[in-house]
């Protein structure tokens, strides 16, 4: 069975939805950040698949940009989480509802 572009797109979709469900289900803010990383990674697969499909490597450049954005996001997000933990002694999002009430 030949592997087509569709297979790669569907794989990316399944991975993205896994990350999305994880983001909603988990209560630990660090794990939620990891789910966001998984979603970003699935987008990279779509970029690379279309790049390969069109024989045009422009998508690879954008995957590299995405790496930088993901690294920046992880650094800032984790810095914020460490600061929250210092003040509130928790990273459980159920306990962090100052903006919700």
């Amino acid at each position: 069975m030949e592997i087509t572009l569709t297979h790669y797109l569907l794989l990316a979709m399944v991975v993205f939805l896994t990350g999305m469900v994880g983001f909603v289900v988990r209560r630990n803010a660090i794990v939620m950040l990891m789910c966001v990383e998984l979603m970003l990674s699935s987008v990279n697969i779509v970029f690379a698949a279309y790049s390969r499909f069109h024989g045009n490597a422009d998508g690879h450049v954008f995957v590299l940009m995405n790496f930088a954005v993901a690294a920046a996001e992880a650094a800032i997000g984790l810095a914020i989480l460490v600061e929250i933990y210092r003040r509130r002694r928790t990273v459980n999002v159920d306990d962090l509802k100052a903006l919700m009430e």
């Binding site: 794989l11 979709m13 939805l17 469900v21 660090i30 990674s41 690379a48 390969r52 422009d58």
Partner: protein, 171 residues
């Protein structure tokens, strides 16, 4: 051969992602995420993007996950392990329905505009470091420079968030 590798890497990647979501301990979740990222590197290699495969291992599975594991190590304790409330029953549809709706939409779209094959064999040297570098430092030079500003802002932001408020220069 490509088919076997695709199914192995793809199924293992989805499995790694699922295990990350299911595991209760944050450390175990992080290790499963590294597993999923390594499988993603395999997918990149299959898509004739060897440079991206190497960068995926170096940046994602290496640098970013070390950062995560480091923070988990710093915040260790009862906060991270267990104590997770089970979802209230009425929330399950809210969790399950949107992904299924999106999946139905995407599968419908793909079936309608479905493609055959992968657009022929990849050109010679496609996705090699030379090929990507030519684009990155040629056509996309401006974007490449701008992404360094994004990283600079991220460094400053992380420092500003992490530093003791009383010692910030503008206080």
């Amino acid at each position: 051969m490509e088919g076997i590798l695709f199914w192995v890497c793809g199924i293992l990647m989805v499995f790694g992602g699922l295990m990350m979501v299911v595991q209760r301990s944050a450390v175990v979740s992080a290790v499963w995420l590294i597993f999923a990222f390594v499988c993603a590197a395999g997918i990149f290699a299959l898509l004739s993007a060897p440079f991206l495969a190497v960068m995926q291992i170096l940046v994602y599975a290496g640098a970013i996950m070390v950062l995560f594991l480091f923070v988990i190590m710093m915040l260790q304790g009862p906060v991270l392990e267990g104590g997770r409330k089970r979802l209230a029953l009425p929330m399950w549809p809210a969790v399950a329905v949107p992904p299924m709706a999106i999946a139905v939409m995407i599968i419908g779209y793909v079936k309608r505009h479905g493609t055959t094959g992968m657009g022929g064999p990849a050109p010679e040297g496609f996705g090699s470091p030379e090929h990507v570098a030519e684009l990155l430092l040629g056509k996309y030079l401006l974007a490449f420079e701008l992404i360094s500003i994004v990283l600079l802002v991220a460094i400053i932001g992380a420092l500003a968030v992490g530093k003791d408020e009383r010692k910030l220069p503008w206080k």
